[in-house]
């Protein structure tokens, strides 16, 4: 069973690599969105440092949201989703594998370019470690919640816009605690409670979002 999950992760990675540019576009969106802020609000260093964590987090959540169509949409359109549903492996495990592949393709690249953007935003050095840590805990949660949204909107009219309406409100707690952890680190306060809550969100999202996404996938292919 684990082997099947590994195969699905590999398949998604291979597909993304062969289609090439897809993962890169999301990354570019992330970088460009953050770059717009210094141009929009002015390049005063203190102001940018104050806004940095929030801007990076918002941009990361928006980029994750843009990449959600890759999660199930292609499989739904070419029919491979129905074949996956027919397989003897529980659908929940398949969803876990799909989300893991999605995170490897979007979450991980976002985390890798984040330090560069933190330099752009003139963030204090004390915040870097916690910024990466909060993204490391937060981006998998955004992939999991996004999987629910992606599965719910399969076959809907204007699904891409609809998914933002469904998913962004659910991202708000993630954003609040992600940013407050970095602010605490910069202000010299304890980051433990914020990171623990982010970890709790991840632990809760793994079973709950997997269940909700599988339930909606079953309905989509009924």
């Amino acid at each position: 069973m684990m082997r099947v999950c590994g195969q699905i992760v590999l398949r998604d990675l291979r597909l993304a690599l062969r289609q090439g540019f897809d993962a890169f576009i999301v990354l570019m969106f992330f970088v460009i969105t953050v770059t717009l802020f210094p141009l929009g609000v002015g390049s005063e260093p203190n102001l940018l440092a104050r806004m940095g964590p929030g801007v990076i987090w918002v941009a990361a959540l928006l980029s994750t949201m843009l990449s959600l169509d890759r999660l199930f949409q292609h499989d739904y359109e070419d029919g491979s989703l129905e074949l996956l549903l027919l397989s003897p492996v529980p659908l929940e495990l398949l969803v876990l594998a799909k989300v893991a592949a999605h995170w490897l393709l979007t979450g991980l690249p976002l985390i890798i370019v984040t330090p560069l953007l933190a330099v752009f935003m003139n963030m204090p050095v004390e915040g870097y470690g916690v910024l990466l840590l909060s993204m490391l805990l937060g981006t998998p949660v955004s992939s999991f919640i996004g999987a629910v949204g992606g599965a719910l909107t399969l076959g809907a009219r204007r699904g891409g816009v609809l998914v933002s309406l469904l998913i962004l409100p659910l991202y708000i707690p993630l954003l609040i605690f992600g940013v407050s952890a970095i602010d605490a680190a910069i202000g010299g306060l304890s980051v433990r409670p914020h990171l623990l809550i982010l970890g709790a969100m991840l632990v809760a999202a793994i079973p709950l979002a997997t269940w909700a996404a599988s339930a909606s996938l079953r309905q989509a292919c009924e």
């Binding site: 629910v148 909107t153 809907a156 204007r158 309406l165």
Partner: protein, 256 residues
């Protein structure tokens, strides 16, 4: 439904009582009985409640006359939570037992809940200006109610996003369950975070911290709002059933 089948369902101890109400025609009959009563009680409660709230109850020693906003604000906040909770329960029933009316009840509740959430946010904002000196603060409770408002909108949007109404109903039922995580956050936000919004003063386990001259109009308004919700719910479910019948007739005609 044929008489024999109905007798079988009614007499069968293995059929859960809730399925006896799964028959739309029975719902229509019961709804017809309930509606005049709930509509009358709603008008009566809101009328008496408003009179007590606006003329009889004393002004607050700190907040003066603005405290009267509370008699609309607090019950509508309760209703916003209560209606979402009932949507969650009926969505769960629709998903687990495929109860045919539960879908309709969840769908019919959503716009009413959205309305109460708007009233709650608007009156809260009007109350916040004289009391806190600002229309809006990004405090935990205000933000979580705003999220509830977005969840309602998302539910309605998803419900209408599919060409097949059954698929929309199922997808939005899952969304309602996912959004249920927000309910405890709203309820306990004033206890978990030290916020500008005051903690609960009526729904406490010990004696409420509100004097009876203010508690009575508050409760009357809450009951009035609840009866209003029941009235609108019956009305909307009736029209949903009628719309489904019309759709079936049209389909049958199109088939020839």
């Amino acid at each position: 439904m044929p008489e024999i089948l109905r007798a079988k369902i009614d007499g069968n101890p293995y059929i859960l009582p809730m399925f006896r109400f799964a028959n739309p025609n029975r719902f229509l009959r019961i709804g017809k009985g309930i509606m005049p009563w709930s509509a009358g009680l709603s008008i009566l409660c809101i009328g008496v409640g408003l009179y007590l709230a606006l003329f009889v109850s004393p002004p607050d020693y700190q907040q003066k006359e603005t405290v009267r906003i509370m008699y609309v604000h607090v019950p509508s906040a309760w209703m916003a939570l209560f209606i979402y909770s009932s949507m969650v329960i009926s969505s769960a029933m629709a998903l687990i037992w495929k109860h045919p009316l539960a879908d309709l009840i969840a769908k019919a509740s959503a716009p009413v809940g959205t309305g109460f959430t708007i009233i709650c946010l608007a009156t809260g904002s009007l109350w916040g200006k004289p009391m806190w000196g600002t229309w809006w603060v990004w405090d935990a409770r205000l933000t979580s109610v705003l999220i509830l408002f977005f969840l309602y909108l998302g539910y309605i949007a998803l419900n209408n996003a599919f060409d097949d109404p059954a698929r929309g109903a199922k997808a939005s039922a899952v969304l309602a369950l996912v959004g249920a995580v927000n309910l405890p956050i709203i309820k306990f936000s004033v206890d978990w975070w030290n916020t500008l919004h005051q903690p609960a003063s009526v729904t406490r386990l010990d004696v409420p911290a509100v004097h009876s001259s203010m508690l009575w109009p508050l409760l009357l308004m809450a009951f009035g709002f609840t009866f209003f919700y029941v009235t609108i719910l019956v009305l909307r479910v009736r029209s949903e059933i009628a719309a489904a019948k019309i759709r079936n007739i049209q389909l049958a005609e199109a088939r020839g």
